[in-house]
């Protein structure tokens, strides 16, 4: 498999007041196209920071990050926003749906940044909702949906513009076991049947089992690699 994400000697330093905190130290990592990678580690180990760098939400203090052969570490904010819009789908722990919009309108959000017309946007959003099994809930507001359903709407929003890479930050952290398994199964399907490359941060070893392999981070460095069947 070809490499989709290439991380070379990446460090990230945050300034908190007068203090400088190095969250990632010289990390090297390759993520293959079509991979489903779980990132685990204790709180403060740097896994969310690494995820943010891979998703183009933040820039490294040092090192290079390439995704799909394109360097993203040196892009300015505007260019990074454009890049994210067409290459990455995001799934958060607390779903982060817009509460005043229906499920359908939430899913359509990324398509507002494309040149698609209103009818096509509606159609694509309907397909995405169908894919996550929520076609019948398209008109419902987030508050009218369960946690698991909200996360599936968030997944539909993440995949609607057909990105190559999905980054998930604790996608099951706020769900009960059954809903978590549904969501993880859905991610697995997206990975196996639709070829999406997924990077998922999780604290939950059971969630990590759905990934094809797991990386552990501790104190800002990769420490271990485990492969799953």
């Amino acid at each position: 498999m070809s490499t989709l994400v290439e991380i070379r000697n990446v460090s990230k330093v945050y300034e908190r007041g007068k203090q400088k905190v190095e969250v990632l130290h010289h990390v090297d990592l390759n993520i293959a196209q079509g991979d489903f990678l779980a990132l685990m580690g204790p709180s403060g180990s740097g896994k969310t920071t690494l995820l943010n760098l891979i998703g183009g939400l933040d820039s490294p203090t040092q090192g290079q990050i390439s995704v799909g052969g394109a360097r993203i570490d040196n892009l300015n904010q505007g260019a990074l926003a454009k890049w994210r819009a067409s290459n990455v789908g995001f799934i958060f722990q607390f779903y982060n749906l817009l509460p005043m919009l229906s499920a359908q309108k939430n899913v359509e959000l990324p398509l507002l940044l494309t040149k698609l017309g209103a009818a096509q946007r509606r159609k694509n959003a309907a397909i995405a909702l169908q894919l996550v099994g929520l076609a019948d809930r398209a008109g419902h507001k987030p508050t009218e949906l369960s946690g698991g359903q909200q996360q599936r709407v968030a997944i539909a929003r993440a995949i609607v513009s057909d990105p190559t890479l999905l980054v998930c930050d604790e996608p099951t952290g706020d769900l009960d076991r059954q809903s978590a398994e549904d969501v993880l199964g859905l991610l697995q399907t997206l990975n196996r049947q639709h070829g999406k490359t997924i990077v998922m941060v999780t604290h939950d070893p059971k969630a990590a089992e759905y990934a094809s392999h797991t990386l552990h981070l501790d104190k800002g460095a990769l420490v271990e690699q485990a492969a799953h069947v």
Partner: protein, 386 residues
């Protein structure tokens, strides 16, 4: 345009708060529209008299200057004049100097030029025959609980009687009612000119103002000019205007309407700026994580800036348009209710343009700071709740 539903949804995310804010904006623009109409009404007063059935002629110098009674026959002879009456200010206070009542000494035919004023024929006959008689407006009679036949003591501000006292006593002989609810006479008292002129030593041969009825309302401008031409270059030059214009001029000589309107509007919009600005700041602060999500998805900083600005401008425009539309509805009712004192014009193009420009400007000002904050929002910090 494709973001409009997003902006609209964000605006009404907290319906109660947005509606309350909208109500305050609407109230501010309602006040703006009404006060602007008052200002325009005062500015326009006296510019044209066409369309007016009655004209009032008074001294060009000041409304307190009197005119010679000899002008009556000359005005009556002007082509286009149907009939002429005259009156003078008496200025009566009832029981207390604070109870000022519009009281005019009027010519015998005064009521003929005001056909909208209704007096019972028997009462009118009694009044015509009694030199010390007065007619009082219906509203006044109700206010003070007077009855026909009552002796009404009035204190003139200016004119003494034969004994040198300013306390006059009159017999109430009739009620003036307004047929259409517009006549200002329902708030006033009239007394006989002859009684006034012969009793007070201060007013021999002088008239406060003339009221002329014109034959053709579309000819009023020409008639007004012809009346004023009678006294041109004399020591008693006149100014002939509509009754609304006279009232407006009278108020304009007492107060600076433009300054009052501008001051009130300044205070109203400054308060609106603080109130709505605070609401917008709060609304955007509450949506920090939602704005961060939009940026995460790929909305640019300028798109987020534009959406927050558009939200605030939309709120102001909505309130402004509703407020001005209400003025359009209320103005005619207020004009009618004022009994002819105020003649508010329709909300004109200039007022609409000014109102919309104000709404835009205020929207941009109050949206500016929250929009900048939204634009500068750091995604990672916002998502982490920092």
């Amino acid at each position: 345009m494709k973001y409009l539903h997003l902006i609209w949804a964000a605006l009404f995310r907290r319906k109660t708060r947005t509606i309350l804010t909208l109500v305050s904006i609407t109230a501010a623009f309602l006040l703006f529209g009404l006060l602007d109409a008052v200002r325009v009404s005062f500015e326009q007063a006296g510019q044209s008299v066409n369309g007016a059935e009655r004209l009032q002629t008074q001294s060009r110098l000041s409304f307190i200057q009197t005119l010679p009674s000899a002008l009556e026959s000359r005005i009556a002879a002007v082509d286009g004049v149907k009939d002429v009456a005259y009156a003078n200010w008496f200025g009566g206070a009832y029981q207390d100097p604070h109870n000022q009542i519009f009281t005019f000494a009027v010519s015998p035919n005064y009521l003929d030029v005001y056909p909208e004023v209704e007096v019972d024929p028997a009462q009118r006959k009694a009044w015509d025959a009694t030199q010390n008689g007065i007619l009082a407006g219906e509203a006044l009679i109700k206010k003070y609980g007077w009855k026909i036949g009552d002796k009404i003591p009035l204190q003139s501000q200016i004119f003494p009687n034969k004994e040198g006292s300013k306390n006059w006593n009159f017999d109430l002989l009739g009620v003036m009612k307004s047929k259409d609810g517009k006549a200002f006479q329902s708030q006033m008292i009239i007394l006989h000119w002859k009684n006034f002129d012969e009793t007070t030593p201060y007013n021999r041969g002088q008239v406060g103002w003339y009221i002329s009825r014109v034959k053709d309302v579309n000819d009023a401008d020409r008639v007004a000019k012809a009346i004023d031409a009678l006294s041109a270059n004399s020591d008693h030059e006149t100014k002939t205007m509509t009754e609304q214009a006279v009232m407006a001029n009278w108020i304009k000589q007492s107060v600076n309407i433009s300054l009052i309107v501008t001051s009130i509007m300044g205070a109203v919009f400054f308060t609106l700026l603080l109130l709505t600005g605070n609401t917008m700041m709060q609304a955007v602060r509450e949506r920090t994580s939602e704005l961060a999500v939009l940026k995460t998805i790929g909305f640019s900083n300028t798109s987020v800036l534009g959406m927050v600005l558009a939200e605030s401008v939309l709120l102001l425009l909505l309130g402004g348009i509703i407020g001005l539309a209400l003025v359009s509805v209320l103005s005619p009712a207020i004009s009618q209710g004022s009994g002819g004192v105020l003649n508010l014009p329709r909300v004109g193009g200039t007022t609409w343009v000014l109102g919309v420009a104000l709404a835009l400007a205020i929207g941009l000002v109050i949206g500016g700071l929250p929009a900048l904050r939204a634009m500068r929002l750091n995604i990672v910090d916002a998502l982490a709740g920092r």
